[in-house]
């Protein structure tokens, strides 16, 4: 199936990746080649074949619902990104992460 520039923009939005006109065109060309490769699958009759979702035929292992990890919050927060918009501080405050306001 042929892709359009609009498809690329829509998929980029779904993937939360900003894309400008020039990059959208270049991406369209590359992705069209890859999709043509993928299209080879359509020649295969797969009716009645059970999809294989995983390399091992296993059921999910369960464990008791007990605390199994130590709290590494302080360690993890050392990797917080720089806040941005003029601030060079880490995007953390009071053990939480800072993001733009989402509720008015």
């Amino acid at each position: 199936m042929a892709l359009s520039i609009e498809d690329i923009k829509k998929v980029a939005h779904l993937a939360r990746i900003e894309i400008n006109e020039t990059d959208a065109q270049a991406t369209l060309n590359k992705l069209s080649g890859i999709l043509a490769l993928i299209e080879q699958m359509q020649a295969v009759d797969t009716s009645g074949i059970v999809p294989m979702s995983h390399a091992q035929d296993l059921s999910q292992r369960l464990r008791d619902d007990v605390v199994s990890k130590t709290n590494l919050r302080d360690e993890f927060q050392k990797n917080a990104p720089i806040l941005g918009n003029g601030s060079q501080e880490l995007a953390v405050a009071g053990g939480l992460y800072l993001v733009p306001k989402v509720i008015e």
Partner: protein
């Protein structure tokens, strides 16, 4: 002992030298660090080095040896692919997205090497998020193939590959989602093993395509790979796909004779697309196996050609979900300027990911999007089963399957970088084993001449049945007893003195 000799030993030889106290881990580690200083500026195999941490581990190993409690790899310096979280080490996965990320905990593989007393020499370069076959998608630049500096080392484990080939480590770790251990092992001329899916824990290993990713050893010989597997393999409850199996000794069958071994040669692995020179090297290797008493069986893996289209649906689909975690909120790159939350996500991801990673995220998002799921994702999963069934049928007729690991020798840097489909075809012989979950390895089998450069290494691929790693290592080891391809190392151009 001269430095170049000291950095060219087998793991077994190192263990003997260390445990008989003829050398210390500190001396051995310093010899490798010296060599890294000399050659890494040109090769770019390592992207993170921390001499203090490395030497502290070497001293601790010497203390352990002195106390008489050494394990086989105690004191031996190992390079770690930068896909493994190692506490206190930068862990970037070759991406700008994680350029400032310092791992807060150890991957299972890292803690296994720590427990064995091995020394971490540093983190090795790789294609960004393991997406590539030439190491050229790394944010930290390409890696030189030690056999010819104008060529790529293969990928995605290109840094580990160059480090093993250039003797910048005793051995290294890699990961293989579609060929990322075996193709670079072929292009750089050393031994690499991708185990059965689920044998090595993925805990702390940055995810690309979770149903395919598997870690394994990259080393100078099959015996070295067996010793590495003894450390890396084993059940880990922190990885929900880790297999709860009894611990194995991967060295146990190394010395078994090969008389009566049935080797399957799939006709699809010797068809159009394979370089004639590479095909000749593989034929010579098969002839060697006949001399060792093996029988040849002609087999067919009819769906081999479909493995690439199937892979380029499934791997990007899984990657698009796995990489959705990189949103600039809690770690990783965040854009410097943004207006609202959506803008922050979109800008951070546009800036943090490179072109190939974005392409794969977009493909994955597309094939999973409303209206296309059945035509692409479901269809690919159905054909995945056909590919796996091909192997089930094949292993009714033979013990191992052999063929080339890659269709050509190392290609020139820049040659395929603008043509993703040509790059993807590098993995035509390796991808099907990932889809089936089978183990595969690449073993040095000789050199093929190229029209415009030196003769370059060729890898023989050995594919085994599920959990048959010990037999594959036996099959490779016996070949390495009668050939010397695996002992050859490149002559490096003068590095920094």
């Amino acid at each position: 002992m001269a430095n170049s000799e000291l950095t060219n030993g087998s793991l077994k030889a190192y263990a003997q030298l260390l445990q008989s106290k003829q050398i210390s881990s500190l001396e051995l580690t310093q010899a490798f660090l010296q060599r890294i200083k000399q050659y890494n500026p040109s090769i770019n195999a390592y992207i993170a080095l921390d001499e203090d941490k490395t030497l502290a581990q070497a001293r601790a190993a010497d203390a352990r040896i002195a106390a008489g409690s050494a394990a086989p790899l105690t004191g031996i310096p190992i390079a770690q692919k930068d896909i493994f979280c190692a506490k206190g080490w930068p862990t970037t996965c070759g991406s700008k997205m994680l350029a400032n990320f310092v791992a807060p905990y150890d991957a299972h593989v890292i803690s296994q090497f720590d427990a064995a007393g091995a020394v971490n020499l540093g983190k090795t370069n790789m294609d960004e998020f393991a997406m590539g076959s030439s190491n050229e998608t790394s944010y930290f630049g390409g890696v030189k193939n030690p056999w010819s500096f104008d060529r790529v080392p293969g990928g995605s484990s290109g840094g580990s590959a160059a480090a093993v080939a250039a003797r910048l480590c005793a051995a290294a770790t890699g990961t293989d989602t579609g060929g990322s251990i075996r193709q670079p092992a072929s292009l750089c001329g050393f031994t690499g093993l991708k185990p059965t899916y689920g044998v090595v824990s993925r805990f702390g290993m940055i995810a690309f395509a979770s149903s395919l990713d598997q870690a394994g050893p990259m080393a100078k010989s099959a015996e070295d790979c067996a010793l590495m597997m003894n450390v890396m393999a084993g059940f880990d409850e922190r990885d929900s796909t880790s297999l709860d199996r009894a611990k194995e000794d991967y060295c146990r069958d190394l010395n078994k004779p090969l008389a009566g071994l049935k080797i399957g040669l799939p006709k699809e692995f010797f068809a159009e697309g394979l370089s004639a020179e590479v095909g000749q090297v593989i034929e010579n290797a098969i002839a060697e196996y006949k001399k060792l008493g093996a029988e040849i069986v002609n087999i067919s893996l009819p769906n081999t050609g479909l493995s690439i289209p199937v892979y380029y649906v499934l791997a990007p689909a899984e990657a698009s979900s796995n990489l959705s975690r990189y949103d600039g909120v809690r770690y990783g790159h965040r854009a410097a300027e943004y207006t609202d939350l959506m803008d922050m996500y979109c800008k951070s991801r546009a800036e943090g990911f490179g072109a190939e990673v974005k392409r794969r995220i977009l493909i994955g998002t597309y094939v999973l999007s409303a209206g296309y799921y059945d035509a692409y994702y479901l269809k690919a999963q159905q054909i995945r089963r056909l590919i796996a069934q091909d192997f089930v049928e094949a292993f009714k007729q033979c013990d191992v399957i052999m063929g080339p690991a890659a269709p050509s020798t190392a290609f020139k840097a820049g040659e395929k970088v603008d043509d993703p489909v040509a790059m993807y075809l590098q993995d035509i012989y390796t991808i099907s084993t990932n889809l089936a979950g089978l183990p595969g390895m690449s073993v040095p089998a000789g050199f093929a001449s190229s029209q415009d450069g030196p003769a370059l290494p060729v890898g023989l691929q050995i594919i085994g049945n599920y959990f048959d790693e010990a037999r594959m290592l036996n099959v490779a080891h016996q070949y390495q007893q009668v050939t010397d391809w695996h002992t050859l190392a490149p002559n490096l151009p003068e590095g920094k003195a």
